[in-house]
Point group: C2
Chain length 191, copies 2
């Protein structure tokens, strides 16, 4: 038992089990199919701007991975004719974006042996509600621009820090999602 | 009081106060500046793949709008070397996407007087984890594809339903976010 504890302490950097992470990487190098993940959610409208998402199992590493479901709500603030019971979808997107950049940054720092003391970020996104509400046909409804600002305390030089953040920006699924258009299908059928 | 209740019932469709929504639209038509919204979140890394977001005030309708903060976590499942304390960022994005499409659909249905009985959706996104983990330089880390499927029970024809879903896809901020690349800056400074 003492030996196991010592081993766990030795291979954990930034709370990431680096041995296990590197084993995962090696497995995916050997069998690319293990790297194909499918995440999915279901959603049910409640009323007005309130709807409820259930997040359960996902496919990854060649198998279906079951876990207890998470249930989270989208809502709209009063100014957008809602009751503000939960964050709105645009805020969830910003949450996902900074969270994904952070995790990608932390994991790659761990694999490179860089110890982190603090990672804080703020992000803001501007949008023009006239598209969402149908006032203007010529505006698209998405963000006009997104600005992310990180502050990091780490045992490395500022140059190494900049390189690590560049890795995060290139590797983060959410950052890539923001930077690129994704082929998306939306199908609707009557019940 | 009885009069107020009657009025509220008359102008509410699908839980949306249509009178208030149309007043909002008219105000934005008259003063476009009112339509400029800025949403923002802050995030703090906890450990490993766990980080915590705080969502507070936002700017909209020409003013700062204060409200009680929401606090939500990102985490990673065990297969991605996490402890599964919360959904991961990719799942939050899917949650935001279907929620935004749903709300846009519901609001425009309300403005057109279409009464909805049920709106359910499922979405899945596929990605290759080899980019996120640095195994492959030539893959981007975002979704390869996203598929959204809606089932709707509404007091309208199937053609009207298809037109309404098309409005949702064109008007939803998140759908536009998925379909387009957004100018994004990521700045990082050492503490």
């Amino acid at each position: 038992m003492a030996g196991q504890t010592k081993k766990a302490m030795d291979t954990t950097v930034n709370g990431v089990d680096v041995d296990r992470l590197k084993s995962t990487v090696q497995a995916m190098e050997a069998v690319p199919e293990l790297a194909k993940f499918t995440f999915r959610v279901t959603n049910r409208w409640m009323k007005g701007g309130l709807n409820r998402t259930t997040i359960g199992s996902f496919r990854g590493a060649g198998a279906e991975n079951h876990r207890d479901a998470f249930v989270i709500d989208n809502a709209e603030p009063s100014l957008v004719v809602g009751e503000d019971e939960a964050p709105n979808p645009v805020e969830y997107l910003l949450h996902a974006l900074v969270g994904c950049l952070t995790t990608t940054f932390v994991y790659h720092a761990a694999m490179q042996g860089v110890r982190l003391r603090a990672v804080e970020s703020q992000v803001e996104g501007r949008l023009d509600m006239r598209s969402f509400l149908g006032v203007r046909e010529d505006l698209h409804g998405g963000f006009e621009a997104v600005h992310v600002r990180f502050r990091v305390k780490a045992d490395c030089s500022e140059d190494e820090l900049a390189l690590l953040m560049d890795v995060a920006r290139r590797r983060s699924p959410l950052a890539n999602f923001v930077l690129r258009a994704v082929p998306t299908s939306v199908v609707c059928e009557a019940m």
